[in-house]
């Protein structure tokens, strides 16, 4: 099989993996080719409008496991292929030198056994780093069940490592991925976290100590393949950030590729739900919200008509309206429609002079939604009175007009 056919098969098999982000690592170029940019660079956008920044491929799609939702499951009749470590290295380097990509995102199905697979992945990144002097970004999926020593040695060579949880509950795993269990996933995650932390300590004392997974670890959850509500997914996310120090959790709307009585029947992948989860994830990481504030047992799923912040605000109207010239930064961040940039702009501009409504517009704060939740110099511009029904109606209307696909999904 020639390289082009392999690339076609193994890129296709990897494409449902959503994490495209290549940011968070600064690797400087030491005499070879490549460095990792902090802010992340998109090199192209595919026809589905997603940022293309990494050469995202599977090492192989031959798999000994039989996860029900997965296109590569052992019992599926699909075309299979396996790269050699040299082929992956050559593709990566040649693409990188032409500025097609920011780096490599390598994962793999499980061929022969977890250790054998992990060894191949290690060989590949070893070739790239130590033979080709490649200093660009590498994100690698660790293979659950592989020998920790192999995971450790690989961790010394890559920027980011992840172990996919895929299904947000143990029951889900039991049903759809019977050969995996919570332990085989959480163990390597805990192992990677421990070494990242140990390594940070080491690097404080000896600058020369080799880095271990400097851009941190991430994971992916499939939403919609199993019945967990958003509240359960978001609580899992929160504990992953808090207990495993994950850098990112990615969500992937379930796209049916197999048919099985164990799988739900869906007409459309739940994209809007996926989008709401990303928005909520954002609120957890950067806006000081907790999962329990956004959802609870009685309100376990996000409202599809309102974004999670609006949804929260509408249920907690006693906080509003806030005075734009007085509210502290944390409160500004909680105003629907105001982002970090706008909040910072407001804080710095109001140092010069008290802001009225036109000033906000002038400094480029978008008020379309925020208008219902703020006052400027004591004046309310959101309507005649501050009224929940009216706000729900107006916000709901503008949300339906807003094409949510155009919001930035990936950073």
């Amino acid at each position: 099989m020639d390289l082009k056919q392999k690339l076609d098969i193994l890129a296709d098999a990897a494409k449902y993996d959503v994490s495209c982000s290549s940011s968070g690592s600064t690797r400087s170029n030491r005499g070879g080719v490549g460095n990792a940019a902090v802010s992340g660079i998109c090199h192209s956008w595919s026809d589905d409008g997603r940022c293309v920044s990494l050469l995202k491929i599977l090492f192989t799609n031959y798999c000994i496991y039989d996860c029900v939702y997965c296109i590569n499951r052992a019992s599926n009749d699909v075309q299979r292929a396996t790269f050699t470590p040299e082929e992956v290295a050559k593709l990566t380097i040649s693409f990188y030198r032409r500025n097609y990509i920011e780096g490599l995102f390598l994962s793999s199905a499980i061929i022969k056994n977890p250790d054998y697979t992990m060894e191949k992945l290690l060989q590949t990144v070893h070739l790239l780093r130590n033979v080709h002097n490649f200093n660009g970004y590498i994100h690698l999926k660790a293979i659950p069940g592989a020998d920790p020593r192999l995971i450790y040695r690989t961790g010394l060579l890559v920027d980011r490592m992840s172990v996919n949880i895929e299904l947000p509950s143990s029951e889900g795993l039991k049903k759809l991925a019977p050969q995996k269990d919570k332990q085989s996933i959480l163990k390597p995650m805990g192992f990677i976290r421990t070494h990242i932390q140990g390594n940070q300590e080491e690097r404080k004392m000896f600058r020369q100590a080799p880095t271990f997974v400097p851009a941190g670890q991430s994971t992916q959850l499939i939403v919609g393949a199993t019945p967990e509500p958003d509240f359960q997914v978001l609580r899992l996310t929160e504990s992953l950030y808090n207990n495993f120090s994950l850098k990112r959790v990615y969500y992937s709307a379930y796209v049916p590729v197999n048919t099985s009585s164990l799988l739900p029947v869906v007409a459309q992948p739940p994209l809007l739900r996926e989008h709401r989860l990303y928005q909520a994830d954002w609120l957890l990481r950067f806006y000081g919200f907790s999962a329990n504030e956004l959802l609870n047992e009685r309100h376990p799923n996000f409202d599809l008509d309102f974004d999670p912040k609006e949804d929260w605000a509408l249920r907690n109207l006693y906080h509003f309206p806030v005075e734009i010239n007085k509210a502290d930064y944390e409160m500004l961040l909680r105003v629907p429609g105001l982002g970090i940039k706008s909040a910072l702009k407001i804080i710095s501009a109001r140092r010069e002079t008290a802001l009225d409504f036109d000033d906000l517009k002038k400094i480029g704060v978008i008020l379309k939604r925020a208008i219902y939740f703020i006052t400027c110099k004591g004046k309310y511009y959101g309507g005649l009175v501050f009224n929940e029904e009216f706000m729900r109606q107006r916000l709901g209307q503008s949300n339906r007009q807003l094409k949510w696909q155009q919001l930035p999904l990936f950073d």
Partner: protein
């Protein structure tokens, strides 16, 4: 109406600004010789670029305003937006009064104009760091043609000098007839420099070049998820005017 005419270089602009501060009647416009269209009322004054004067202005901005202000006006200059020079002059006038606080005056029209131009330039620079494509030529030089809206070659070059440090490369701005050339043989510590380079350059691909272009196209086609096709979103992130030199899009 007094028009200050300069040679289009950054030093030329700083010299013009130096003269503007010292002349009894400040300029109505500062424009390059090439962009100047005389009219009935225009009175011209030719500015000769003077490195000593430009150096003085450069230093004064850094010391009396801030390095951010210096970056802002450099980027604004690179924007090549019409009349940007006179806005730069206004911005500096205000800057020498307010010092480092000038960039907090975000609701001031002058500051807004400069920030707006600066953002455009930074944004396109960031964008092209991704969208630019090198092609390997027969002489083992990686060649990238571009036609950016703004004159960002001098911003792109340091990025690629860090990143593609062990290959010879050339970025060619076909719109302006300029090139940034990075050569491993260069004996300077900075291995890249800017040249004028004619648009009608003949190029010849290296042997493997078409193979890798083809592989990239394969990858690009494969990664898109059909159920999610959204060409509008694609174009929004990656405007069609940049497609001309993108392997996967032409």
């Amino acid at each position: 109406m007094i028009y200050f005419l300069y040679d289009g270089s950054f030093d030329g602009l700083l010299t013009a600004i130096y003269e503007a501060f010292y002349s009894p009647i400040p300029p109505t416009q500062i424009v390059t010789h090439d962009n100047f269209i005389p009219n009935l009322f225009s009175e011209e004054r030719h500015i000769t670029t003077d490195l000593e004067k430009s150096e003085k202005v450069y230093k004064a901005i850094k010391e009396k305003i801030s390095s951010t202000a210096l970056k802002n006006i450099y980027h604004a200059y690179l924007s090549e937006l019409t009349q940007i020079e006179i806005w730069i002059y206004q911005y500096l006038k205000l800057g020498f009064k307010l010092g480092v606080r000038i960039d907090n005056r975000v609701s001031d029209e002058i500051v807004m104009k400069i920030h707006h131009a600066e953002r455009k330039v930074s944004f396109e620079n960031h964008r092209l760091k991704g969208l630019l494509r090198f092609q390997l030529l027969k002489n083992q030089v990686y060649y990238a043609p571009i036609e950016p809206d703004h004159n960002i070659l001098s911003l792109l070059a340091p990025h690629f000098a860090r990143r593609m440090a062990d290959q010879n490369w050339l970025i060619h701005d076909l719109k302006r007839g300029l090139a940034a050339v990075y050569s491993l043989e260069s004996s300077n510590t900075q291995k890249w420099s800017l040249f004028s380079l004619d648009k009608s350059l003949q190029i010849q691909f290296a042997e493997d070049e078409e193979l890798f272009q083809d592989l990239w196209k394969t990858f690009f086609k494969t990664v898109s998820i059909e159920e999610r096709t959204n060409l509008k979103l694609q174009k929004q992130h990656m405007p069609v005017r940049y497609w001309k030199y993108m392997v996967e899009k032409n």
